[in-house]
Amino acid sequence: MSDRKPGVYLCKGCGIGEAVDVGELEKLPASEFKIGTCKTHDALCSDEGVALIKADIDGGDINQAIIGACSHRVMTDKFSFNGTPVIRANLREQVAWSQPAGEEDTQMLAADQVRMAMAQASKTDAPSSSAVQELVQTVMIVGGGITGLTAALEAAKSGHKALLVERSDKLGGWANKWSKRMPHLPPYRGVEENHVGKLIAEVEAHGDITVMTDTMITKTSGAPGKFEVTMAHGGSDKIEMIGAIVVATGWRPYDASKLTHLGYGASPDIVTGVELEDMLGDGKLMRKSDGQKEAKYIAFIQCAGSRDPDHLPYCSSVCCGVSIKQSLQIKRENPDASCYVIFDELRTPGTAEEFYREAQEAGVIFMKGKVKSVGGDMSVVYEDDLLGQEVPLNGLDMIVLATGMVPNSTNPDTEAAEEEMNKYLISDINPAAGVSVAGYTGDTPDPVKRPEESIPPGGSILNLQYRQGPHIPILADGFSDSHYICFPYETRRTGIYTCGPVRRPMDMAESADDAAGAVLKAIQAIRSAGEGASVHPRTGDLSFPKIGHDICTKCRRCTVECPFGAIDEEEDGKPVINESRCRRCGTCMGACPVRTISFDNYSPSMVGDMIKAIDVPDEFEEKPRIIIFACENDAYPALDMAGINRQQWSAYVRVIPVRCLGSVTMLWVSTALESGFDGIMLMGCKSGDDYQCHFIKGSGIAKERMSKVGATLKSMALEEERVQMEEVSIADSHSVAKVINKFAATIGDMDPNPFKGF
């Protein structure tokens, strides 16, 4: 867009007018940027203030509004003008509220904030559309268990066609085997009837749900709104067009044959919880060994394999409830039976505590301690924590091992092939790399220890035809990569959402809730693809990366580093962006060594110009300058909140919000050093397996890139400490000012950057 007509609007409200001389700022646009339109108002967000801007837009005087007022995170509804680009200079939270009023340094900071916004405007265009044409509305659900059945119903009830694909010959999954289910209705006390039969009938009767059993997915290509899925069914291939995919492949029980230390295999009467379900059908519980004697003395061993670093390092979450349910079933059938539940910690979250109490009242005997040995002669010895001694249980009729859940993040029915693609299956970020974390003063936490067999055996589920391989990436424990708290259903493949036990261990009621959540995400993905807009976290963003193919060297760094596998390659290595898979983080932009990837409103040259627009005083003024690239998801809001709480930090700091630390290109670092900045800090989210990064591995990639900056600095004869990275979460607003001030003090102790003034 060559005919940019920016206008600058400055606000004097909320203390800005008292903190800085707005009259001085008003002169800047004309003197430094040749911008004719510059107006001030006492409260720009008032109807009168908004009307002032609107009149200029409607009159054709301007087509870009630069607003120097509050943070870009607030008042977005007021400063929204029908697609006219709006650029915000943060004069309130990060100037007036976080710096002393009337000081020279505060005024310089405010002036730089306005300069940066004007430089940003000079490289900002309204994004062009990338809407998916011929959008498909169908939601495909993979897996016909409780989760998949619920997901299909939820999708159909929301007005979408649902295609339910199941690899076995019937619907229901593991739930078909369960005799009863744990309570999910008030008063959460009693064992409930298994409702899977009803659920199957409901799905089969629904006109908008197509069920395909005995079907394997052989190939998936495309992008949200236009996936092309090939399925093998009855010896022939079938191709379906799909809008979005919900993966509800569930779980498999942990292989009990690995639990010989808990006696599995030593006697037919030592069984797993899953095996016990088969025996709990109707009537009396008979011993497996002879089928004659009714089991009277039954011991349940909790955490059989779970929470054991040699087996499953995680808690499988359902086994406690299942053992309570099974022991209650046994007690109801035979009140003379003695059920012993031996646990290390009994985990009964939420309403499950009611169920636990019901079992206590019914006389189920709970014993806290660690199991020492289990014998084939039907004996258990455990170390009782409450008696402080070993207790033997001899002459048991049955020993039940409460085994855990292994996620079906791979398909156990197919062979694992592609060795080299496993690096895309497991998280490819090194969580062991150390970085200081805001709020921690001590050493960085220990890196995550990867278990040796973290990948559940099997082939890929969808066989994605993506540059980054056929898998949906998983975390160290084998569950599909998802952020447990903030964005649980999101996988690293846009338009594909996981729910149920493939995401984390959960019971039937939780799985049903999870299915509803994932379906809503899938529908959102379809609609966003139709509008050409991004999904979480830049929801609604219309910009997307564009590659300058004439400059591109086909180095493939963007196709390798994209956290979402959005970029494919043509045979000659030319990168191809699938817009509706893209989440607009800009990690490709940060990766590109020739800086030819850019967005209409976010580019290497835009931020480069913003850096250059900042006025860097010469070394004799003794005013160092520090630049902070702050992730706009957590770090920037934390800074805003620190401002709202009137915390003060060094006035020598200039903050540039970035979409993700993954988008920070090394060019900006070198530009800043060449412009005379004394220190550079990257402030973003936690990386690693317990990441907080909203783009999953953006901050991890930034960390890897930064680990190589030291050598560059040395070659420029600069101290390595000049460039730092800090992990900041949105909850760190109380400590973020301290982090900045500590860095500012370190920089203050150094000599000025020798490149100043060049």
Binding site: K296, Y297, D336, A337, S338, R357, Q360, E361, A362, G363, V364, I365, F366, M367, K368, D384, L386, L387, V391, P392, L393, N394, G395, L396
Partner: protein, 201 residues
């Protein structure tokens, strides 16, 4: 009362917990014990017990029948009810201990000890006269340790006895009795009959 399950080991009995839950007065609430230890912490004479109530209850779950039934815990309980008042799970600790004492006698676990001997003397007087006679209860209690020990204890406490006589707290004439001893006998016979009937059902 059903008999406890046969011993499966010398010390540990798999069915013991269930047996206590079903047969001991208040035992049906024992499953609710969450081992918080408020009972033991509240017990004014916990130090005189082999095991506090919390530990005793866990021993029941662990099937330690012999050790539980031979414990002195229930004999030393003074029925102050502090544990019952404080228990967050409303477990009737005192009732359970009282009935455990009774069960330990029935099953032959209770070895004669000071408390059981005193208890027997007390009950003999109550049953025979409808009242407790200080002189006869004390005498029966002292001589239950044997003649020599009985005389020794009597002489040791002579001063106290003399003081009680002087103030009219003890007398040397015929023991006081209730008027309707036949009525008392009938009540006790009825109670025995009910107990017999209940233990069979």
């Amino acid at each position: 009362m059903t008999k406890p399950a046969p011993n499966t080991s010398e010390k540990y009995d798999l069915g013991f917990a269930n047996w206590v839950y079903e047969n001991v007065n208040g035992g049906d609430k024992l499953g609710l014990c969450m081992q918080c230890g408020v009972c033991s912490g509240s017990c004014p004479i916990g130090e005189q017990m082999d095991h506090g109530p919390r530990k005793l209850f866990m021993m029941i779950r662990a099937g330690m029948k012999d050790e539980v039934l031979s414990s002195n815990t229930m004999w030393n309980c003074t029925s102050c009810y502090r544990c019952v008042v404080r228990c967050p799970r409303s477990v009737p600790v005192t009732y359970i201990l009282q009935d455990l004492a009774a069960k330990s006698v029935e099953l032959g676990y209770a070895k004669p000890n000071e408390n059981s001997k005193f208890s027997n003397s007390f009950w003999w007087s109550a049953k025979t006269f409808g009242r407790t006679d200080e002189r006869l209860v004390t005498a029966k209690y002292y001589f239950s340790f044997g003649v020599v020990e009985g005389v020794k204890r009597g002489l040791d406490n002579l001063k106290i006895a003399w003081g009680m006589i002087k103030t009219g707290r003890m007398h040397l004439t015929m023991p006081h009795q209730i008027k309707d001893k036949a009525g008392l006998k009938a009540i006790l016979a009825k109670a025995a009959e009910i107990e017999e009937r209940e233990s069979k059902s």
